[in-house]
């Protein structure tokens, strides 16, 4: 019993300390959030006033207000919403398909040392090959539709997930696996109860990397061919020397990537709730 009370005391001790440190927090002026927002305001002001002051023409660097005006024009006359939704849809779709394939293949290869050795040189080669360079090929094969950009995205998302899962499968604690075997678990039981949960942190890390790459895949697919999506607006705006349109499209692409990334971070904190988190 002594040990239990000790542990309870141990848990209440930091709790007793917490109010004191909380009390000092609002006093701190160096709050990173305020500093971050301050920096944003500073950059936006510089963007608005510096280019005209330095006589930089609009088609080189449009100001903030130019971009906002162009944004509402794009909304009204260029069907911006449709382009945005198309890009967002294919980003999520490509991410989902690519990471599913990557994870499944990663787990399969992780369970079979033989096939991992057979396939690893080719996987490495494909991983090194620049995936975006496949885009023109896919257009030749599938035409000017959504298929090429989906394929580029799937291809680009696939590898970080595969590699992370494979790496994690190789480093699962052997003693844990032995323990599970000693408890009469079969191959599948060991996978579902030990290996799969052990690799979750790495899978989630792979998915986070993949989410940022998914936007690149879709953009390249749309830049190279097609007539929908934010990538198309970039090449269209570029052709017309409409820098504000290009700026806006880039910003919106970033928004899509950001949203996907943070959705994943939210999922990750829920799934990996059992990991001790470093506070601040």
């Amino acid at each position: 019993m002594t040990d239990t009370t000790q542990a309870v005391a141990g848990r209440s001790a930091p709790a007793a300390k917490a109010p004191a440190s909380k009390g000092t927090r609002p006093m701190r002026l160096a709050n990173p959030l305020y500093a971050s927002l301050g920096l944003l305001v500073l950059v936006l002001l510089a963007w608005e006033f510096l280019p005209p002051a330095l006589d930089v023409p609009k088609f080189i660097i449009p100001t903030l207000t130019d971009c906002l005006a162009e944004l509402s024009r794009m909304w009204a006359f260029e069907g911006l919403l449709g382009h945005f939704l198309s890009t967002a849809l294919y980003t999520v779709l490509g991410f989902a398909i690519g990471s599913l394939l990557g994870a499944v293949l990663g787990y399969l290869l992780g369970m079979s040392e033989f096939w991992e050795k057979v396939l690893s040189p080719y996987i490495l080669a494909l991983q090194i090959a620049p995936k975006v360079a496949f885009a023109p090929l896919f257009i030749m094969w599938f035409g000017y539709n959504a298929m090429p950009k989906l394929l580029v995205t799937v291809l680009i998302v696939f590898f970080p997930v595969l590699v992370n899962v494979l790496q994690a499968m190789r480093t699962v604690d052997r003693d844990l696996v032995n323990l599970a075997r000693a408890y009469n678990l079969g191959r599948l039981g060991v996978f579902w109860k030990v290996e799969m949960p052990s690799t979750l942190p790495n899978l989630m890390a792979g998915l986070r990397i993949a989410s940022t790459l998914a936007v690149i895949g879709v953009t390249v697919g749309e830049l190279v061919g097609g007539n929908t999506g934010l990538g198309f607006l970039i090449s269209y705006g570029g052709g017309q020397a409409n820098a504000a349109m290009v700026f806006n499209a880039i910003l919106l692409l970033t928004v899509i990537g950001y949203a996907l990334y943070f959705a994943l971070v939210k999922i990750e904190t829920r799934v990996l709730h059992y990991l001790p988190r470093a506070e601040h």
Binding site: T2, D3, T4, D175, A182, N184, G189, V194, P197, L200
Partner: protein
């Protein structure tokens, strides 16, 4: 008879291709409910003895018997615990304790009931829904013991379960393990390099020689309070037993 080694020899082939004899002609018996420790210099094959009892590998010569049946592979009679607690971090304490029962076709309700019982035996009541990272090292080892006890093994094998803990936690945990084991009446084999620990916790101590390990002495610890090492600790005889072990291990000669 809970456990018997009959003239057991184990040879390994090293990576370099040499033949290496880990233990040679080891014979001993452990009676039901007895607590026996195995001490010896490092590399004397203590863990080899444990692995052969657990059925992780077979002796090259001789026989290992658990409950009068030869051990041929991992089996339900033996529960083992290592220095690492090996709790699954993504499972709550209670479902970690249930882990060993899951592949044995025990119904869910009964699994939970048995796990709850062991949780209380190991003085962890109230921590069932905690996660391993929320527990101290000592409490995690107790949870690992609860998991081992939950499968109701005939023999518990402990491979230096206290060696990674600080001195005070170690003392408390030895006490708590000894109490729990005495209450359940389980036969226990403890592998340790801590001579005092062996004296405090055991009915009997087997001393192994250097490699190839063989039993050079068998010391009966004739002291009361096996279930309370903390009380046994202050008895003056403890240092005499430790000195005996010291002599058998020829530690003074080595120090000279």
């Amino acid at each position: 008879m809970a456990l018997e080694f009959r003239n057991v020899t184990k040879k390994f082939t090293t990576n370099a291709g040499d033949r290496l004899t880990a233990v040679s002609d080891v014979s001993f018996r452990v009676d039901e409910g007895e607590f026996v420790s195995v001490v010896g210099p490092s590399g004397c094959g203590k863990s080899t003895i444990l692995s052969m009892t657990a059925g992780l590998y077979q002796p090259s010569d001789g026989e290992v018997l658990v409950s009068d049946a030869a051990v041929t592979g991992p089996n339900a009679h033996v529960g083992f615990m290592l220095q690492k607690d090996l709790l699954l971090p993504w499972r709550s304490i209670i479902s970690n304790i249930e882990f060993g029962l899951e592949a044995r076709g025990v119904a869910k309700a009964e699994r939970r009931a048995r796990a709850m019982k062991e949780l209380e035996h190991c003085q962890l009541a109230g921590f069932d829904s905690h996660y391993p990272y929320q527990l101290s090292g000592g409490m995690r080892q107790r949870a690992a013991l609860a998991r081992t006890l939950a499968i109701d093994p005939e023999i518990i094998l402990l491979d230096e379960p206290f060696s990674a803990l600080d001195a005070q936690t170690k003392l408390l945990l030895q006490n708590s393990f000894a109490g729990t084991i005495a209450k359940t009446g389980k036969t226990t084999l403890l592998i340790t390099h801590d001579l005092v620990e062996a004296v405090l916790m055991s009915d009997r101590i087997l001393v192994l020689s250097e490699r190839p390990g063989t039993v050079v002495a068998e010391i009966k610890v004739d002291l009361p309070k096996r279930d309370r090492p903390i009380e046994r600790r202050v008895m003056p005889e403890v240092s005499d037993y430790a000195a005996q072990l010291f002599k058998h291990l020829k530690l003074e000669e080595k120090a000279a």
